[in-house]
Amino acid sequence: FVRSLGVSVVGTAALTREDIAGALAQLKRRLMERNVAEEIAEKVCESVAVNLEGRRLAGFTRIGTAVRAAVEEALHRILTPRRSVDILREVRQAKARGRPYTIVFVGVNGVGKSTNLAKVAYWLLQNDVSVMIAACDTFRSGAVEQLKTHCARLGVPLYERGYEKDPAKVAYEAQRAAARESTDVLLVDTAGRMQDNEPLMRALSSLIALNRPDLVLFVGEALVGNDAVDQLTKFNRRLTDLAHDQTQAHTIDGILLTKFDTIDDKVGAALSMVYSSGAPIMFVGCGQTYVDLTKLNVKSIVRSLLK
């Protein structure tokens, strides 16, 4: 996109806002076309502008080239996780301490929590880790049967108490059942909820407070637009605000980005989610079968964003 900005400055004068304004406006537009939230696109451009302003370019560097390089670097920096979580290692550590490692899947409605929970179960089984699943979506019709089907296919035990039960309690009992049966990992499915739904966010916060999971995975779909920012921000904020003991609040540890196979090159939600939460994308769901779970490829995301 910056190729059209063929103007080159010879390396004497320092760059001004005006020099880079055109290239940045095009960049912002490109990012938004690639489904980056408006607010995030603006912030990335702003940080690149601050970074470039006053800089002197080496002889015969095109402005477009300089802006592109700065943007590429910024995107890499944002998407590269600051903290990395090695789930398999953590699972072994928990096992050594004689307790099941618990992962809770959270997110808004219909993003793919239950399906990708089943994919994670499959991945764990491939790594010789034993798994139990807890059916803590006790609200949505068919939610329990959905997990029952997955468990039967995967040959994994399901802990369920039917519908209309308190999900926090079901998770609690499931944890005890998993401990009794020396299961390595307990995967807790929860009902989808809108980030502004106060009672439901409160219930989620109770579930997490009561059960102290090892990992809270936020499941978000790659299809989501500007709402990605609000989802991540509010889930984190609500989990903090509503925690019984705010110093012990457990917020989002990682992101599972789903439906990556439905968006072509419009990969911007990945950037919006990571930027808004600072949490790493730990898994990427790219299809509807158990094997459709991969790791994030930062390079290819950046390439798609700038192509």
Partner: protein, 309 residues
């Protein structure tokens, strides 16, 4: 409603033009920037948004050339026309929602994975049941784990007869059986729920075409999640190209999203939004009137009158 937030910003931007002393390039650019940002923040398709900006600017420039014309009015009308063309399909939604009793209306629901089809099918059935129709639900989703149980539990809750199978794997076969059964039983509203699918997987689209061929729907409804972003337009268009999408239902409008992505589906399918979903419960479902909405959006009671001037 959430969409109104976007409308307020557009009205503010238009008011800004009206209050400016002179309508020069700078004022126009500032106004257009506001409008475009509001639309982009609401997930309206970026190409449509930038197209709007270009078109309004062209019309404003032409106004400069034409003598004696009121530029303010021209810009205002240009903005209004462009926004309307994004939001309004031009199809009268009443024709799609005023179903005729006593004849078998076969309605097929399609859409991306997790958009809310199964939930909305039952809401839709319950809505017409209240109006005196005799609805029935057919589960043609043989793929998703627990899909039939989900539909069954929803249908039972609302007292609507349903049909499906745990063993048959061909959705087109089940769909046909279900529709035939309910036709014979003189149901006047037969709703067919299908699996979630996306344009990148051709086999899934082929399956959808087969279901449509077998049930010959009188209306195909495209269900779209209100929080969808820039992928909306292309996906919606692909659905429209594969089956005769005639209407759109936008779901999850109780969330924080402004619904602009789903609005792009209107442009892509040339079909109106007829209902919106505003919650997980079966009664959280409302009629959507695009014309009234566009009118409110631009702060005018009688929007039609303005456009046609």
């Amino acid at each position: 409603m959430v969409l109104n937030e976007m409308g307020q910003k557009i009205s503010q931007a238009l008011a800004f033009i009206n209050n400016a002393e002179t309508l020069d390039e700078k004022v126009l650019d500032a106004c257009l920037k506001e409008i475009c940002t509001a639309l982009l923040q609401a997930d309206v398709n970026a190409k449509l948004v930038f197209g709007l900006r270009t078109n309004v600017k062209i019309r404003a420039n032409n106004a400069d050339k034409g003598a004696g014309l009121n530029k303010r009015k021209i810009v205002e009308k240009a903005v209004a026309d462009e926004v309307t063309s994004i939001l309004d399909s031009g199809v009268d939604e009443k024709k799609l929602t005023d179903l005729k009793k006593g004849q078998p209306n076969v309605i097929m629901f399609v859409g991306l994975q997790g958009a809310g089809k199964t939930t909305t099918c039952t809401k839709y059935g319950a809505y017409y049941k209240k109006k005196g129709f005799k609805p029935a639900l057919v589960c043609a989703d043989t793929f998703r784990a627990g899909a039939f149980d989900q539909l069954k539990q929803n249908a039972t809750k609302m007292g609507i007869p349903f049909f499906g199978s745990y063993s048959e794997t061909d959705p087109a076969v089940i769909a046909q059986q279900g529709v035939e059964k309910f036709r014979a039983a003189k149901h006047d509203l037969i709703i067919v729920d299908t699996s979630g699918r996306h344009k990148q997987e051709e086999a899934l689209f082929e399956e959808m075409r087969q279901v449509a061929t077998n049930v010959q729907p009188s209306l195909v409804i495209f269900v779209m999640d209100g929080s969808i972003g820039q992928a909306a337009f292309d996906q919606a268009k692909a659905f429209k190209d594969a089956v005769e999408v005639g209407a759109v239902i936008m779901t999850k409008m109780d969330g924080h999203a402004k619904g602009g992505g789903a609005l792009s589906a209107v442009a892509a399918t040339k079909s109106p939004i007829i209902f919106i979903g505003t919650g997980e419960h079966m009664d959280e479902f409302e009629r959507f009137e695009a014309k009234a909405f566009v009118g409110r959006l631009l702060g005018r009671g009688d929007w039609r009158g303005f456009v046609d001037k």
